[in-house]
């Protein structure tokens, strides 16, 4: 597994970080202050979570005056999408097996 995929999985393993990422995906760009109000935890704690999300490239940021604005980068979810594509192949194969089993058993 690539280093970046590892970062993505680790970043999303935490429920607070998932909530922050989801908030940015749903509502668009936000400042640390706005994110802190919603997360219900201290600003340093939010900043720490944002650092982990940035390392995974799940969020991007830009400075405007004294505020830093954060936005979601859903493209970074690609490792998760790959994972799901593998499950797709897995289940299609299992459906084939299930279908041939149904042919073999009575009733």
């Amino acid at each position: 597994m690539s280093v970046i995929a590892n970062h993505v999985f680790k970043a999303l393993a935490d429920p607070t970080r998932r909530a922050i990422f989801e908030g940015l995906t749903r509502d668009g760009e936000q400042t640390v202050h706005a994110l802190t109000r919603r997360a219900g935890i201290s600003q340093p704690a939010v900043s720490k979570h944002l650092t982990v999300l940035k390392r995974a490239k799940l969020v991007g940021h830009r400075r405007e005056g004294r505020e830093t604005h954060y936005r979601a980068r859903p493209d970074a979810l690609a490792p998760l999408v790959d994972w799901m594509a593998m499950y797709g192949a897995f289940w299609r194969d299992r459906f084939d097996r299930l279908e041939s089993l149904l042919e073999r058993i009575d009733k």
Partner: protein, 140 residues
């Protein structure tokens, strides 16, 4: 909480030329499950914890940890699905049709497990899928 990672899902659907009662048996009788999915200690009882087991491959122990979530005979079956540090839930829906059963499988709620060590996990799974596809390829 809605969750971007969680709302993504894998859906596979197929028309089966068999009655829902028969499809249900294949989904819920351990000995039959083993023949199309994996060795297991499944029981059709909500709250029952079970494992699905296949041969280990490098990077994956071949074990999937599950818990039965929903049992609605001949209609709906759901269980959690945890392996390699990734959690999700698998839901089967059976709808009677003129020719048999419309069978739908949805695997959703993908999220990394907090305890897990992800390194190499995908590799093992990829090997597992890769082997499977190779075997299927040889059958052609």
């Amino acid at each position: 909480m809605t969750d971007t990672a969680a709302v993504r899902s894998v859906v596979v659907e197929r028309e089966m030329a068999h009655r829902p009662e028969k499809v249900w048996r294949a989904l819920t009788e351990g000995q039959l499950i083993e023949q199309w999915l994996m060795a297991n200690d499944f029981q059709p009882v909500a709250g029952h914890r079970f494992t699905l087991r296949t041969s280990p491959v490098p990077g994956w122990n071949g074990i999937i940890e599950c818990e039965v979530l929903v049992v609605e005979p001949n209609t709906r079956l759901a269980y959690s699905w945890g392996t390699m540090g990734m959690e999700s839930a698998v839901t089967w829906t059976l709808t009677p049709t003129a020719g048999g059963t419309h069978l739908r499988m949805e695997q959703s709620g993908f999220k990394p497990d907090q305890e897990a060590n992800y390194k190499g996990a995908t590799y093992g799974w990829r090997r597992f899928i890769g082997n499977m596809e190779r075997v299927l390829g040889e059958l052609d």
